[in-house]
Amino acid sequence: MNQTTLQEGWEVVIGLEIHAQLATRSKIFSGSATAYGAAPNSQANLVDLGYPGVLPVLNREAVRMAVKFGLATGSKVATRSIFARKNYFYPDLPKGYQISQYERPIVENGSLEVMLDDGSRKTIGITRAHLEEDAGKSLHEGLANASGIDLNRAGTPLLEIVSEPDMRSAKEAIAYLKKVHTLVRYLEICDGNMQEGSFRCDANVSVRRFGAPKLGTRCEIKNVNSFRYVEKAINYEVVRQIDVLESGGTIRQETRLYDSGKDETRPMRSKEEANDYRYFPDPDLLPVMIEDSFIEDVRATLPELPDEKAARFVADYGLSMYDAGVLTASRELAGYYEAVVSAAGGPAAAKLAANWVMGDFSGALNRDSVDIADAHVPASALAGLLARIQDDTISGKIAKDVFEIMWAERADADSVIEAKGLKQITDTSAIESAIDEVMAANPKQLAEYRSGKDRLFGFFVGQSMKATQGKANPAQLNELLKKKLDGA
């Protein structure tokens, strides 16, 4: 089955439910710590354990973070929102209900604009974002005939961000997901760590014939913990649904699990098997009343948001929208970039700095899994390297080698250039003698070139550059070589 032909005539409709773990120090309804990776049940107090008689008390910081998200997405922040109980039995849900917001969420009706691969933009609606507590974890490995329960995560604050079904492809869904991911980290309300589960996503996927008035029956895909898997899971599900429909079948509304090992989704439970959660307002918690002054206080703490920053990068640094988007994908990267530009002498160095930050620098970070804060080449050092490129001390190509040494040895550009003798050769006679040697050593190629095989020019550039250990000034070398080859 070929996916593209299969999809012809079908429209894909995707909505995402994102769970962002809020970066509060304590839990949403208790004073327990929220740090990841502690010994099982060491961060669960009586409230988290759902002991008889205990009561929840709302963490104001979680409210502040939700409001921050609401303001950053142009949403309506509810002056009165209500916590409800979602009732179901599960061992890692200590109270037998999850405290969540149901009919009256704290944030409603916002949107985010995403940029697609073709450079076009699309607005994705945010239906709502509500506060809720996380459940614990059931552990099955290494226990014979039993399950372990770790309630460290129980009561961790989550912001569930529900989109409109506005996305029409897995790529759009990923663009939106990344946008939210960037935003919550800018706002410092979530660390965005998908491996540790602090940023999770469920995808609602349906397909319909183009032009069909009603949405198709949707399936909810759970348990996807990376951008790549979200994309793969959606693509798998789209093909599966179209396949079912084209063979005359019907889609059952159900929850499906994505198995990254097999790259497939599998049914988890159908709508008929779904719980009746019996939501009702939690009588232990008062309605959350938010005053205008609180909203304004929060608004005053908003940082420059990714879109604003990208627009500024375009305007001030003359970057393309794409580059500006990449550089503003995280607040840390953008900050690093701006520090490089400023140390390298301002907007004149902006494009060169952009290429280096997006290229070699980001490559090294990823390769060595290093955070920007711990980068082996700090912004001032990278600026120092760029200055040597700009003043022709070294070529861009040599600079790549210098950078690697700087990264490996945590050294600055000048000392590396000095120690390794990488200073660019701009002495015309030295370059000329290198060219002469190369021409003398390759009479056959010289003859062919001169009889019209122009593309051998590259061969001579390479050989001559090699003869200078790559240190010749490239523009100078080109010019001299052209002259000599043409027999001038």
Binding site: L46, L49, G50, Y51, P52, G53, V54, L55, P56, V57, L58, R85, N87, F89, P91, P94, K95, G96, Y97, S147, I149, D276, R278, Y279, F280, P283, D284, L285, L286
Partner: protein
């Protein structure tokens, strides 16, 4: 004068004068418990050793000159309050093995004030009942007539105070669970305004209705304890941050000019036996004491029982979900799988009345029924609140019976839940509206006490207590002790 027939106020005075020590007082009550509890089944746990240790500590505090008004005062806690290191069973097999790892705020505050816990009192299972017959530990007997119920759910607390097995006891009131048993055993009991006393550490039945209070011989005794129990608690979001008045200092506020409303709806249906006449006599007494008596109406009040039996079960069905056999409480033997663990642990751990309410509550919250039951009940609840509010624009207090009848025979109503539920017909309204209310004894129907109910506006506890105190200065019903326990 024997120790146990004295009021809390008199005992406090005796302790202050060092007429007797806290240890002597605790020993006195502990020996009474040893003698009489088996027949009454009022205590489910007696903490004798701890009581004596605490009493010794209280005596030391007094010797050091640091005693407060309650230092060394023995009391009993309803077994719904968590008590650190002491079994807290809530009348249920489900929690028969549960030793609470912390003190409820009420327990903590009373302990900090120097009171001495004698033990934990029997109660209807999870406070669901009006006769104390749903307790897994068996029914409590009414000290006035051992064939009769003491009322419920705070039946154990009511009985220990009536039989003077403790000078005073804590209780909780979700639909009348302090007032109705207080009425049926002839003592005073106050349910404060919702939010006045912290619910932290009180095992939840219906969170929006539950309120802790105090049960003692007299209103003055209640005033002595309530001030210590009340006040904001940051661990309970529904507790109200508002200063606590000095209830004792305000006890003698005059009755003259106080407007008391007789709730028409409380007299619409026949009150059994002498109840109607005794309540009427009490109203006449108030008039004689200078109060202005007017008739008022809350027309939606007759809907309070059905409203309550939607709201309370809905909340309880969710509150009791945590009893699943996983972390604490009863767990069935050798569960085959998770579902078996849930079903048998809960099936074995809960009694019939609790199951009935969990099922009712689950039903009214279910998809398709929520609007028809839960939402509608909330609307009626708002209506009842509004009508009470309107009534309190005209009067300072409302007055009426606490219970339609005196104590009934053990077993008489157990097979008929609806009849049982109607015991709370006069008390539920105050819970739905979150109002403070109290019951004080106003006479006897034969040998059985009858209760008079006073209801106040939100945070009107001072007025309630002073009005009750005024009546008790002119009557002695609250001083009477069943002959067998005198």
């Amino acid at each position: 004068m024997t120790l146990h027939t004295r009021s809390v106020a008199e005992l406090a005075a005796g302790l202050a004068r060092k007429e007797f020590s806290a240890v002597e007082l605790a020993q006195h009550f502990l020996s009474r418990i040893e003698r009489s509890n088996a027949a009454l089944n009022a205590y489910v746990t007696v903490t004798a050793e701890r009581a004596l240790a605490d009493a010794r500590a209280a005596d030391e505090v007094r010797a050091a000159g640091r005693a407060g008004p309650l230092t060394g005062m023995p009391l009993a806690h309803k077994d719904i309050f968590c008590t650190d290191g002491v079994r807290t069973a809530c009348g249920s097999k489900m929690l028969d093995n549960f030793v609470a790892p912390y003190d409820a705020t009420v327990v903590e505050r009373l302990r900090a004030a120097g009171t001495v816990m004698l033990g934990k009192t029997n109660m209807d299972e999870f406070a669901m009942g009006s006769s104390n017959e749903t307790s897994w530990y068996g029914p409590v007997r009414n000290p006035w007539d051992l064939k009769k119920v003491p009322g419920g759910s705070s039946g154990g607390s009511a009985a220990v105070v009536a039989a003077r097995l403790a000078p005073v006891a804590t209780g909780t009131d979700t639909g009348g669970s302090i007032r109705q048993p207080a009425a049926l055993v002839g003592i005073s009991g106050i349910k404060p305004t919702y939010g006045r006393v912290s619910r932290y550490g009180m095992i939840a039945f219906a969170s929006s209705l539950d309120q802790a209070g105090i049960m003692a011989p007299s209103a003055e005794d209640c005033a002595l304890l309530l001030g210590t129990m009340a006040g904001f608690d940051s661990r309970d979001s529904t507790s109200v941050d508002r200063p606590v008045p000095d209830y004792v200092a305000e006890l003698n506020a005059p009755l003259a000019g106080v407007r008391i409303g007789v709730l028409k709806e409380f007299f619409a249906h026949g009150l059994e036996g002498a109840t109607g006449a005794l309540v009427q006599a009490a109203i006449d007494q108030y008039r004689a004491l200078g109060a202005t008596i007017v008739e008022v109406s809350c027309p939606s009040l007759p809907l309070s029982v059905p409203t309550y039996y939607v709201v309370a079960p809905a909340e309880c069905s969710s509150n009791l979900s945590r009893f699943d056999g996983v972390r604490f409480g009863h767990r069935c033997k050798d569960p085959r799988d998770l579902m078996d663990l849930y079903k048998r642990s809960r099936g074995e751990g809960f009694g019939a009345e609790v199951k009935r309410r969990i099922m009712t509550g689950t039903y009214v919250l279910s998809a398709g029924y929520y609007d028809a039951y839960y939402i509608k009940a909330q609307k009626v609840r708002s209506l009842i609140s509004a009508e009470f509010k309107a009534a309190f624009d005209k009067v300072d207090l409302l007055i009426g019976p606490t219970s339609p009848s005196p104590a009934f025979d053990i077993g008489a109503k157990v097979d008929d839940p609806i009849t049982m539920y109607l015991n709370d017909i006069y008390t539920i309204g105050a819970n739905l509206a979150g109002l403070p209310a109290m019951s004080i004894p106003c006479g006897f129907d034969g040998i059985l006490p009858v209760g008079l109910q006073l209801i106040g506006p939100h945070f009107g506890e001072s007025r309630l207590l002073s009005a009750a105190h005024a009546y008790q200065r002119h009557t002695d019903f609250h001083r009477r002790v069943p002959a067998a326990y005198a």
